[in-house]
């Protein structure tokens, strides 16, 4: 392995870039499958992607990837140059996607520091077979190994009007070898001759067919390259020339003085005038001066002007902005200023708040990334599943440009994949069944993303058979998952059963879903992001699963409250309303738990001082404040001593040493330096 590179950053870059290339490739293939043919630009792009993967893989010594890419490159070179009429595009797409999958897998292994030990021989032989098939069906003969462009035959040029060819100048003979492994020795020889011609008149060289015959490289490797030339320059100058030519070794330079030898040489030289330019001048029309404004260059891959930023720096920036928000609060809400009338200060503080807020927004937006790539990955999943299950399904993506925090992107792909697979596997009926029901073909799966206030909504909809309540209830019954009598369950609650761990059993594990893992994996992942999963369905019409994910994780608007001498913060978005209850609004259920009546509906109350074991004087509901908190479908009241006010808070995680505590989402620092614990509204409601 080459020790020339510090491998780590290069390896990372290699993996990153190759993965990018492969995504591009997949997108290209999927786009073109629909069109049932490839246009020139696409072919060229595929060729280039493979070329790049080949080169970088070779640099990193991943030869099995490099060779595979090379074969793919050859295949596309063939298609590009020969433009065969008869191509099985479906098979071609499969082939490219298989190769892409192979490389993807190897990259994963590399990233995990496992052995990248994939065997590419089957794939390579498939590619070669395909190439052979193309040649046969299109009656195109075998291409030579090298890829020639048309070049006119070249021979050496000697001016006609020379009496004696050999004049007073120095006549030299040179024999040299090129460094081992420098490759394309014949071209190097050609370059050498070309440049030598600026100093000397070159009569002859051997091997002579360096331009036409690439096999001459072998001869040069074995036997060296010999040339005869004359020049007005001295030995030293000529020696310098060779010394300064890259890759030359073992130079043997002789000044020919012996008259007999000179005579011999003269006889051997053939005087043939050939019009073959050895340097090409350009006609004015050929020059392309690019436009000076970069914007006018429409890059076909659709990339915008982007710089890549190390994620660590972004994280650092986010942290600093968080600190800044806290520090700003510490200044403005400083206890020292409590009693003072400070109009000018207040004005300035307002301005500061405004600017800090803008900085916040911009920094958050830097971390925001469109969902496009994550959503487009689903195209492949839909295609593969539909093929394998023999169902006709198309995928529609709406709102791909919706942006989410970078953190979210990394964790959204798996749940989405699971949902899509589920929809196709269990939701969509096979074509026959759909026809019988009079439903449209192909079936549709729609992924729609949109932002809604502080959240992002991603919906996976299908127009399949919908959820069957009876089936769900039965399964839940069989797996002992029913905690409530069936008759008391709302439709939503029944649907939500499919998210319960253990819902999917071995009995109906298909290859793609229900591996006893089930939808609870989806919920866990989404909850980790602070989001919720909602499900809705109409029998025979379809199902919609909605992922609701808070847009920003780090800074939220919170309402600070006090219980005893402890402070808590509740995310504003979870609060429906707050009020001081009057006696008649409070009722107690048979077990003594307090409940509050709001506009005719009854809600449970969580007494924070009891829940968190905090000392306080305020124990009577009518002396404190009830805040109605909402989490997904559950609404409940939280009883606190008093409200302190709204504030932008930076969510800080509780230290690792303190393990996760139910009901707490983190903590934050108040203006005066006190710590306030941030409530996890979803977690608190679990016990109700």
């Amino acid at each position: 392995m080459s020790s020339q590179f510090n491998l780590e950053p290069m390896l990372e870059l290699f993996c990153y870039e190759t993965s990018q290339c492969l995504s591009e490739l997949e997108q290209l293939i999927l786009n073109y499958e629909k069109a049932a043919s490839y246009n020139d630009q696409t072919i060229d792009e595929i060729f280039r992607v493979m070329h790049n993967i080949k080169s970088s893989a070779a640099m990193m010594l991943f030869n099995h990837i490099s060779t595979l890419a090379h074969n793919m490159e050859d295949l596309f070179f063939f298609i590009r140059e020969q433009d065969p009429e008869i191509i099985d595009y479906a098979a071609l797409s499969d082939l490219v996607l298989e190769a892409a999958d192979f490389i993807k897998l190897e990259i994963e292994k590399i990233k995990n520091e496992d052995e990248a030990d994939g065997n590419n021989s089957l794939l390579i032989s498939n590619i070669q077979d395909f190439l052979a098939y193309l040649q046969k069906n299109n009656l195109i003969p075998d291409l030579p190994a090298a890829r020639p462009r048309s070049t006119s035959p070249e021979q050496y040029y000697i001016s006609r009007d020379r009496g004696s060819i050999l004049s007073e100048l120095n006549v030299f003979k040179a024999k040299l070898f090129f460094e081992d492994g420098c490759e394309m020795e014949n071209i190097r020889a050609y370059a050498l001759v070309h440049h030598l011609k600026e100093l000397a008149e070159v009569f002859k060289y051997f091997p002579a067919d360096i331009m036409e015959n690439d096999d001459s490289a072998m001869i040069i490797k074995d036997q060296g390259f010999e040339l005869w030339f004359q020049s007005e320059h001295e030995n030293r100058v000529i020696q310098d020339f060779f010394d300064n030519t890259a890759f030359v070794r073992d130079l043997d330079l002789i000044l020919i003085k012996n008259p007999e030898e000179l005579m011999q040489l003269e006889k051997e030289i053939e005087v043939e005038v050939v019009t073959s330019p050895d340097s090409l001048a350009l006609s004015p029309e050929e020059i392309l001066i690019p436009n000076t404004s970069c914007g006018q260059m429409a890059l076909s891959s659709g990339k915008q002007s982007i710089i890549s930023v190390n994620v660590d720096k972004l994280d650092q920036l986010m942290d600093l902005v968080g600190e800044m928000v806290i520090a700003e609060a510490m200044v403005i809400q400083n206890p020292d200023l409590k009693e003072l009338e400070l109009d000018n200060f207040k004005k300035a503080a307002l301005q500061l708040r405004k600017i800090t807020s803008e900085v916040q927004d911009v920094v958050m937006s830097i971390r925001m990334v469109p969902l496009t790539i994550s959503l487009q990955k689903m195209n492949r999943i839909v295609r593969d599943m539909a093929r394998k299950l023999n169902k006709e399904v198309v995928l529609e993506i709406i709102g791909a440009e919706t942006e989410v925090d970078k953190n979210i992107i990394e964790h959204i792909s798996d749940p989405l994949m699971h949902l899509v697979r589920n929809a196709i596997d269990h939701g969509i009926e096979d074509p026959q069944a759909r026809k019988e029901k009079g439903k449209s073909l192909p079936a549709k799966v729609i992924i729609e993303a949109k932002s809604a206030g502080n959240d992002v909504l991603i919906m996976v909809k299908d127009n399949g058979r919908g959820l069957e309540k009876e089936k769900i209830l039965k399964r839940a019954r069989d797996n002992g998952l029913l905690s409530k009598p069936e008759t008391e369950m709302s439709e939503r609650e029944i649907f939500n059963l499919i998210f319960a761990p253990g819902f999917s059993t071995e009995a109906q594990v298909t290859e793609y879903s229900g591996r006893g893992v089930g939808m609870d994996v989806v919920t866990k992942n989404i909850e980790k992001l602070g989001g919720t999963v909602l499900i809705d369905s109409i029998p025979d019409e379809g199902t919609i699963i909605t992922l609701k994910i808070p847009l920003t994780l780090a800074i939220i608007s919170g309402m600070n409250v006090k219980v005893g001498s402890s402070f808590y913060t509740i995310p504003i978005t979870s609060i429906r309303e707050s009020f001081r209850p009057v006696a008649k609004e409070i009722i107690h259920d048979p077990e003594g738990y307090g409940m509050v009546m709001v506009r005719g509906e009854c809600y449970p109350i969580i007494r924070l001082h009891e829940k968190f074991q905090v000392q306080t004087q305020v124990t009577d509901f009518t002396e404190g404040i009830i805040m109605m908190a909402e989490n997904g479908e559950k609404t409940y009241g939280i009883f606190v001593d008093e409200l302190l006010g709204e504030q932008q808070v930076v969510v800080k995680a509780l230290p690792n040493y303190i393990r996760k505590i139910k009901g707490l989402a983190g903590c934050t620092l108040l203006g005066d330096g006190c710590i306030s614990l941030i409530l996890d509204i979803a977690g608190l409601s679990d016990d109700i």
Binding site: T151, Y190, N244, P290
Partner: protein
């Protein structure tokens, strides 16, 4: 320090070359991801040497070479090629490329090549 412009559409290859050149005392004055940008940057930056990948989108290495040589007949361009690109390399020599390096390249060759070219 010798000033170098790196032209290659693959970020990985640019980074690899940059690493080698950095380690050996060369100054990278710019990078370009296709021939068109390469030509433009050549005009702006006037580097001492250009390393030019052959296969690129928008404008390939050969075209860019031609353009650069037209703009500056003394431009020193080193082509970066892959195996099997014999004709393209031939043409580039004809259009004035100083020499070429074959991918995958190693540090020794790159350094040697640049050192020799800059002397000319």
């Amino acid at each position: 320090m010798t000033r170098v412009l790196i032209v290659d559409d693959a970020a990985f290859m640019r980074a690899a070359l940059r690493k080698i050149l950095d380690n050996n005392g060369y100054e990278i004055v710019g990078e370009a991801e296709n021939g068109a940008v390469g030509v433009k940057k050549y005009q702006e930056l006037q580097p001492d040497i250009v390393t030019m990948d052959i296969t690129m989108p928008e404008m390939d290495g050969l075209e860019a070479l031609k353009n650069i040589r037209q703009f500056d007949p003394r431009a020193k361009v080193i082509m970066i090629s892959a195996m099997g690109q014999e004709s393209l390399v031939k043409e580039s020599v004809m259009y004035g490329a100083q020499t070429f390096i074959v991918k995958p390249f190693n540090e020794k060759y790159v350094v040697e090549t640049l050192a020799k070219i800059i002397k000319k």
